[in-house]
């Protein structure tokens, strides 16, 4: 799997660097997150959930999935909301306890 990094949303807080189970993320000199190797990502989404600014998104390998869909988690106290969006912009929302 892999990761989309939206640099404009990254403030270099390092919460994703702290949590990635594969030690795959690091901060570059201008304090932006970067991934060592896309193919080493497990898609556990620990980093995506840890990012308060929505700068990270899980990316499926192109060998298995069409371009353009996204899934984004929003975390609250006792709940998680997921918003899944397809290429045409159709959204599905899910609210679950956690």
């Amino acid at each position: 799997m892999g990761l989309w990094i939206e640099e404009s949303k990254c403030f270099g807080c390092g919460s994703c660097v702290q949590v990635c189970p594969g030690d795959l993320l690091y901060l570059t000199a201008p304090k932006k997150v970067a991934i060592r190797e896309q193919r080493e990502c497990w898609d556990c989404m620990a980093c995506v959930k840890s990012c308060a600014h929505g700068a990270l998104l899980t990316k499926l390998p192109y060998t298995i999935a069409d371009y353009g869909a996204t899934i984004r988690p929003f975390l609250g106290e006792g709940w998680i909301k997921w918003v899944c969006r397809d290429q045409e912009g159709r959204e599905e929302e899910f609210l679950l306890p956690r």
């Binding site: 799997m1 892999g2 702290q18 949590v19 990635c20 189970p21 594969g22 030690d23 060592r36 896309q38 193919r39 080493e40 990502c41 497990w42 898609d43 556990c44 989404m45 620990a46 840890s50 899980t58 499926l60 390998p61 192109y62 060998t63 298995i64 999935a65 069409d66 371009y67 353009g68 869909a69 996204t70 899934i71 988690p73 998680i80 997921w82 899944c84 969006r85 397809d86 290429q87 599905e92 899910f94 679950l96 306890p97 956690r98």
Partner: protein
Amino acid sequence: MQPERKNICADVVIVGGGTAGCLAAITIKELEPMAQVVIVEKAHINRSGCLAAGMNAINAYLNPGETPESFTRYVRYDAMGLLREDLVLSAARRLNDVVRKVEELGLPIQKNADGTYTPRGRWNIKINGENLKPLLARAVQERGAQVLNRVVATNYLLDREGRAAGVMGFGVRDGCFYSIKAKAVICATGGAAGIYHPHHPVDGHHKTWYSPFNTGAGYAMGIRASAEMTSFEMRFIALRTKDVICPTGTLALGFKAPQVNSLARRYMTTDFTHQGGEGAPTCLRLYGYLREIKEGRGPCYMDTRHLTPERVRELKESYLDMYPGIVLYWAANKIDPGKEPIELSGTEPYVMGGHCQAGYWIDRKRQTTIEGLYACGDVAGGYPFKFVSGCWAEGTIAGESALEYIKEERGGLGPSPVGEDLSLQLDREVERVFSPWFRQVRGESGVKPWEMEERIQTIMDDYAGGISSYYELSENRLVIAQEKLDRLVAQVKYLVAADFHELMKAHEVIDRLAVARVLVAHLRHRKETRWPGFQSRIDYPERDDLHWLKFVNSRMNQEGRIEIIERPYEQLVSGERYLPR
């Protein structure tokens, strides 16, 4: 150029802060709040181990009417009649208590109107476990266990009597060498992925079902310390949804989806009726799928076309708690599980003791064959069908046993766990651990960890029953695997690592090589087919109880040779062993 050394003393050191390790730590700190407990964690405890993404069910729970004995009978049937019944029984007695315990820590468990847990199958209940790992991590920290995040364990310290005396390792972030001396050690590292070519060899290299960061460190440390290992040959090969490798239990148990071939025939129901049909033992559900593919009736699917739009939404909710990637995959590829079935695939083989039973040979108290060294969770052998709650139960047993051992054999809790000088072991380990980095610093060329990783995976795939040969095994190919792996041992000294992340990767590949060698020795020794699909010997295609109803164990001797030891099976729970339970 010598790394800084950090020395820590504790009563108990736990290797791995995952599912089992967290419960071991919580247990010890609740029984003895003054005990010094250190967890050595390769990643960060908040999202480390198998539960990083969460979990949507507890799959080893005694629903009303079930008993530890009925559970053991079922697990025995699922494990094709061979397992350590003493280990299964002792953990089964704790399953429901430990689930309640984790519920108290904050895990949301779905309930019926009368307050009982909502079953998902005979041994399963539904949870909303997205936050399960952070909950466990918080409980560990609230109870005062010390967590060393980003420290990779590399070997055990042993005292002159051969007892466990601590753990050594290095910091991925700080580059320091760590030694944690302790009176008892609990190994809870998990099992090993990445031994075989992955299902996705290119840009999905780590799109594995089992955590690709579980690289067999606990096994390798035990192998190097000459601990006895069991049942590596019972590999786990998961039947999963194609491409995103998502668990199928959710579809089969939660949403009643049968396996079908491309002709829409329910081959498990029709061909495996006497062995349980759709609920046949786990290895046969893989075997049935493989047979359809080999004989030209693939692809195979989980048939979800009976699901209403509301049920499809529930299915997505269920996966979001554990495997959100599949919801994204369906959106990206415009797949509606209510309209088309979900294609299946087998994963690459794993070595693990939580679904199958590869691991340390332990006694009922979870002590390994090394005094003072305990094992629990996926790294502990002999007890399959553990899953999350079984690992928790086993963690509590290991924690209690380690504490009892310290009190009875090691003079109780308190300072100076090891009196003798262990500096020779420490010096040797610094040299061994840092040598790939020293080599690079000296400007020498060599082998990158990823190169050796792919070499091992290629050997295993080609000669030791990988995905490319339907996982099938034969003596002549296994002999070649063994020779090629043995030759690689002499290549380890050429590994180079540019930084401490690469140094971690170097040790992951060294550990995988140790695991692969033991695995091949076990696969060669068992000359029957006990677990079709997981361990199909095409040269010995039948089960042979007369000669092989026993455990294949091994121990690496001082010269680095793997010696095989056979151990008897003991039936403790009465009843038929192979028919559906």
